[in-house]
Point group: C2
Chain length 238, copies 2
């Protein structure tokens, strides 16, 4: 192997390492989200603690990505598509770190919900969670395969998650109006649903970054937006 | 001027331009937050619309920062402190973009609150907003002056914002329990307060980035954390 071949090989290894770090962060975020939701539906405090603690590992990996990126920028002076990829990975790792934060927050609320949760609004939650888990799974796959069409597909499916969130928001308010004892658990449910919706948004961000990374083009125009919950008004029955 | 002096000058200009973009984003975020809060306290829908629309300009500036960063990385191949600064600016612009999103969301909820807002919990909000505005203002100043001590000061003051948020969360739940007609506006208030608390978190992020940018060292250990709201349980009076 010549010196130059050696350099190319080392550089390729570093690029591959970045990919692996992203995939590991994504895998951790997926299982953290699953644990957080199981903690809520089963009222299992130990699962909740596990989801909270695993957030530290995701944070640590984000730091590792950043250090690797800075090292590569300084030593390899990448250009063109490689540079785009490296900067995108930096951003993707931030999104995954945020997903971890949201999952940890869902898990924290499982503890407040344990004894009090009304069952009906909880029933809509798993469906929303499955949709978001699907998005995260597909967007990680799109990243690994550098598949911009698949990324676009995730981007477009966020509308459904937003609509589900808006309807859950509305439903949860009516439960609060029915019985004041529902108010505390339902307030936490509102934030749990919001956190899950935000995880969906971060999947959308990642999809945009993959599209840019692969094609060099931005997804222009506004996102498909279905979260109208900020405007929702529900009146109690007279 | 020699060719090399010319290059150095162009490079310095580009670095200065990055600073200016961050300051412009920060200034826009500050006035957007002010407009959003005025919209709520005065029930002014036109102010709310203005705060919502100005988010587009912040988003556009974030794109401009990213393009400038990628161009500089490709052409100037910065190293050492410059590289750290350029990567930090990229992250800071993301935080400012998120602050803009949160401010826009606060403004959107002003519209749902217009006719319905209970006055008492609204009274605690401006104090929390002033604290967060202070953080944003000081962290931007710390950025311009490359003042890591000032950044650290912002970092430490986030605890107070979090504590205020937790107490507002608790207070808002009791208003919901008092009268079912309070439930919709108070649900929006919960999210408004949460958005403001999140703006505080992003100021903390920016403070960490400035500290890293200036000193090359990470602020280690967990953040001073006072947001205990995820564990809060409020019971209605028997």
């Amino acid at each position: 192997m010549t010196l130059s071949e050696h350099t190319v090989k080392a550089y390729d290894d570093e690029l591959k390492k970045l990919d692996e770090l992203v995939v590991r962060m994504g895998g951790l975020a997926e299982s953290q989200m699953a644990a957080a939701i199981d903690a809520i539906t089963r009222g299992d405090e130990r699962l909740a603690q596990r989801a909270i603690v695993s957030d530290d590992e995701i944070d640590r990996l984000e730091q590792e990505v950043e250090q690797a990126v800075i090292r590569m920028l300084a030593l390899r002076q990448p250009a063109g598509q490689d540079l785009r990829m490296i900067v995108s990975v930096l951003r993707i790792s931030s999104d995954l770190e945020r997903i971890g934060d949201y999952a940890a927050n869902v898990a924290k609320r499982a503890i407040a919900l344990r004894a009090h949760a009304p069952q009906d609004p909880l029933r809509s939650l798993p469906r929303m969670v499955r949709l978001v888990q699907g998005s995260l799974d597909r967007v990680l796959d799109a990243f690994v395969k550098r598949d911009s069409a698949k990324a676009l597909d995730v981007w477009e499916s966020d509308r459904e998650i937003d609509e589900m969130y808006t309807s859950l928001f509305r439903e949860t308010l009516t439960y609060m109006m029915e019985d004041p004892r529902n108010i505390t658990p339902c307030a936490h449910l509102l934030f749990i649903a919001k956190n899950i919706e935000r995880i969906g948004d971060h999947c959308t961000n990642i999809a945009e970054l993959i599209h840019y990374m692969v094609t060099g083009k931005r997804l222009t125009g506004h996102r498909p937006k279905g979260d109208e919950s900020s405007y929702v008004v529900v009146e109690p029955d007279a």
